[in-house]
């Protein structure tokens, strides 16, 4: 959100034209360029930035992958994908100039010679495209490929910067599978790049409403006095999806919902909701506050895990009225798989602000609808006057996706001569109030990385602290003796009943979505 110390002198002609840090000319090298992420997300995002005029003209893209392909073939593949996945229609004339700066570099990830020729090619592109020696390496390949790529980048001197230029690396999740592997991954990355050069991407943070959490909390004085244990009864964070495991079973079988969603996306959202006000909007000030939240999470003992964490797996059922198979019947899933497709947790943040406020999180596949939201449930007003018979709480809902927006539930008198009170909802929808579509999360995040703004990227200590919280749960689940049960829920339900019990014990209930 702010310029970092290593960012250059401002351009006087930019004053008043843009309220964001300016992306710098650079070459983006995508490792795993023939993969799904490149075709579905990265290139469409870069094309949209170009079409909106947000991409500096001096940007080149080099796809690095194993398959044999010419520049022209690569461009054709990307054009086809962009026409399919771009949020705005592709205009031929814009694609034509955009595609001029796309190149393909064929090499095995472990082939040293491929990186030497890459270095030469990048030097040439600097001369022809004015990219000024700035490099953004995007790791869209599997994490098992990171080490050889990083090693060879270093050997080829591609991690080094010349005077006035920069080199950055964007790493896609998963950032490890546990604390030890995350530390190992960070060690490998830091052998070649510093932490300041490392951008760990979590696309949830690129969403408009996720960014709006900070604005809601710190630009509106009305919420600040209420945002604590004195006024908040509990917090719920839900990430529900109707989709099943699809083609990701190979990865998902080894990961599960806790690693796939909770360790990164949900904890990141929790950090934004629970953090203290940062001293300024610099990346590190914000991330300093976020990491304090994860550090303050009460670590769960084995007994507490059994009582506070519910894991589930979907069984045969129906979604939108259509029959759907259970997880164990999905392709590439073991018939006796113990992988969780649903997790519900009750957490506590042990600090002054959040003492004794339960935080409930749930994430699941094959639930009745797709929705990601945070809801803040406020305590009841004193039980005098109107509140003796009221059961509903005031709730502030921050909808992350779909239909991004904010809603507030309050109580109102029903018109009439009697004193009947009902909850009503004040609702703000981004789509209704602002006609302009929000950019895709990847657009925002790629632009930030080109601008040197790491605010919306996870820092090493955030990732490691998150694993330190998650690891005991995984260990308990995989313990040989008395592991907590895996519960089952039919496709199209809101998860196992035990997830409801988690809240019922505290006199609470999941919000009806």
């Amino acid at each position: 959100m702010n310029r970092t110390a290593d960012q250059p002198e401002p351009n006087p002609l930019r004053e008043g034209l843009s309220a964001r840090a300016v992306p710098q000319p650079c070459t983006i090298v995508i490792f795993g360029a023939t993969g799904d992420l490149t075709h579905r997300k990265l290139i469409p995002a870069l094309y949209n930035l170009a079409a909106d005029g947000d991409l500096p003209p001096a940007v080149a893209i080099v796809g690095f992958a194993r398959r044999k392909k010419s520049d022209e073939e690569f461009r054709r593949d990307l054009e086809e994908a962009t026409r399919k996945f771009s949020r705005q229609p592709v205009r031929d004339e814009i694609w034509k100039t955009f595609a001029q700066s796309i190149f393909y570099h064929q090499s095995e990830f472990g082939d040293e010679a491929g990186y030497k020729t890459l270095a030469g090619r990048l030097g040439e592109i600097d001369k022809t495209h004015g990219t000024r020696g700035n490099r953004l390496f995007y790791f869209a390949a599997g994490p098992d490929q990171f080490e050889p790529i990083l090693k060879h980048l270093k050997a080829a001197g591609l991690n080094e910067t010349c005077k006035g230029s920069w080199v950055r690396v964007i790493v896609e999740k998963p950032f490890g599978t546990d604390l030890a592997s995350a530390r190992e991954l960070n060690r490998i990355i830091h052998n070649s790049f510093t932490e300041e050069q490392t951008y760990r991407i979590d696309h949830f943070l690129g969403k408009e409403t996720a960014q709006n959490i900070l604005v809601l909390r710190f630009a509106n004085a009305i919420f600040a006095p209420l945002w604590n244990t004195h006024y908040i009864d509990h917090v719920q964070i839900t990430a529900a999806e109707t989709l099943g495991v699809g083609t990701r079973a190979g990865y998902y079988e080894g990961a599960g919902a806790l690693r796939d969603m909770v360790q990164n996306h949900l904890l990141q959202l929790l950090c934004l909701v629970a953090m203290e006000p940062p001293t300024d909007l610099s990346a590190d000030s914000i991330r300093d506050e976020k990491v304090k939240v994860v550090r303050s999470l009460r670590r769960l003992s084995a007994a507490e895990i059994a009582a506070s964490v519910v894991r589930g797996q979907y069984t045969e059922g129906a979604i939108y009225g259509k029959p759907a198979v259970g997880y164990r019947q999905e392709e590439n899933v073991k018939p006796d798989s113990q992988t969780e497709t649903f997790v519900a947790l009750r957490l506590f943040i042990e600090n002054w602000r959040w003492a004794d406020v339960p935080i409930y999180m749930r994430v699941g596949k094959r639930l009745p609808k797709s929705a990601t939201e945070i809801s803040i449930h406020f305590k009841k007003a004193p039980a005098v006057l109107f509140n003796k018979d009221l059961h509903d709480l005031n709730v502030l809902v921050i909808r992350i996706q779909p239909d991004e927006g904010i809603a507030l539930r309050i109580h109102a008198k029903v018109p009439g001569t009697s004193f009947h009170i009902e909850p009503v909802k004040m609702d703000f929808h981004y789509g209704t109030s602002f006609g302009k579509a929000s950019p895709e999360a990847y657009e925002r995040l790629l632009l930030d990385a080109m601008s040197g703004d790491a605010t919306l990227f996870a820092r090493r200590d955030e990732v490691e602290q998150a694993w330190a919280f998650i690891d005991p749960i995984e260990e308990a689940w995989h313990a040989k003796k008395d592991p907590p049960k895996l519960f089952f829920y039919p496709v199209g339900s809101w998860g196992p009943e035990e997830a409801d019990d988690l809240l019922a014990r505290g006199g609470q209930a999941w919000r009806r979505l």
Partner: protein, 351 residues
């Protein structure tokens, strides 16, 4: 009555019953609709039949900017004193594609002495707590009505059509000074330059290119007939941002500035049919930075290079010169326009 997307002025209403009628309009409307409003946008014109024209514009503008539109046509010369009012709604399907989002419009036709009732009529029909923007489509006249301007958050005008820029600017600035509240001055002639300014600025994003600023000797700006003021504003922007001081000009379309390092900069304005600002070239002895409209329409072609060198032009959005696009751009940006005021101050005497 059902609320539909039309360009008609809607239902005629008694001026004292506008709020009740608006309420009825929403109650009687069919289907799932959401009324949305982020600002009060008053549009003022004295052009005959401007109500219909501005209703069409509002129908388009509200697609991206939900507002309460207050559209006013004033006929100050009419002999009869009369106020007519209409209410209507502009509805469109939201970006999500499943909901009708509607903005309401109140239209007024003021005749004769009733035009002096403008502030009163506007104040009675503002959607409370929302910012108040006025799009003033006429030239300003002295004295500026302090009662009106103290309520305004942003005044939007187009200096391109002004016959006497200095006098008009003095009036706007006097309203700004008198207003208890801060008014942001929004000139659509300045908005017209957004994309070309953006296109030129991006050449200098890298600090290694900043040394070129001190070497600029010549600026060439091509402008369409009637858009000389747009071109001069552009020159004013360069001068303000690069700290150039105005020097004596040779001729009407030859401006001269002096840089902080005492380098003389000639700004040549050339009139040519086409886009308001069709081409801009910044020249140093070694390099030329060029922004020109691409043949394919609403795109700019940007390139840099030494004379005779092969260039690799890139395309950037050019923006459009119609009132809906300019207003949408302006409403989207928000913020203060200090850079505009600096630019105006550099070239005020040339306009």
């Amino acid at each position: 009555m059902s609320v539909t997307e039309t360009y008609s002025l809607g239902i005629p209403v008694e001026i004292g019953k506008i709020n009740q009628e608006l309420k009825k309009l929403w109650q009687e409307s069919e289907g799932a609709m959401t009324r949305a409003s982020l600002i009060n946008l008053a549009v003022y014109s004295e052009e005959p039949s401007s109500l219909e024209k501005n209703t069409q514009l509002m129908a388009k503008i509200t697609e991206n900017h939900a507002c309460r539109a207050i559209v006013i046509e004033a006929d100050c010369k009419a002999k009869e004193n009369r106020v007519d009012a209409w209410i209507s709604a502009h509805c469109h399907v939201s970006g999500a594609g499943n909901k009708q989002v509607c903005s309401e419009q109140i239209s007024f036709l003021l005749k004769g002495m009733c035009t002096t009732l403008l502030p009163n009529i506007v104040f009675s029909h503002l959607d409370s707590d929302l910012p108040f923007y006025v799009w003033w489509q006429e030239e300003f006249r002295a004295p500026m009505d302090a009662q009106l301007w103290t309520w305004v958050d942003r005044v939007i005008y187009d200096s391109q059509a002004w016959t006497d820029f200095r006098a008009q600017m003095r009036l706007v600035e006097s309203a700004q000074e008198e207003a208890k509240q801060r008014i942001v001055l929004c000139d659509l002639n300045w908005t017209r330059l957004d994309k070309v300014r953006f296109a030129l600025a991006q050449f200098f994003d890298h600090p290694a290119s900043h040394h070129h600023f001190a070497k600029i000797k010549k600026v060439r700006i091509e402008f369409a007939p009637r858009f000389r003021s747009t071109a001069i504003l552009f020159a004013g922007w360069l001068a303000a941002q690069l700290n150039w001081r105005a020097d004596n000009a040779n001729a009407r379309n030859d401006l001269r500035f002096v840089s902080p390092t005492h380098q003389r900069i000639d700004v040549q304005l050339h009139e040519r049919h086409g886009e308001p600002v069709g081409e801009i070239a910044l020249e140093t002895p070694e390099i030329q930075f060029l922004v020109t409209h691409a043949k394919c329409g609403d795109l700019l072609e940007v390139s840099r290079g030494k004379p005779g060198e092969k260039r690799m032009p890139q395309l950037m959005p050019a923006g459009k010169n119609d009132p809906v696009s300019l207003m949408s751009e302006e409403l989207m940006r928000g913020g203060l326009h200090n850079v505009y005021l600096h630019a105006v101050n550099r070239i005020r005497e040339s306009l």
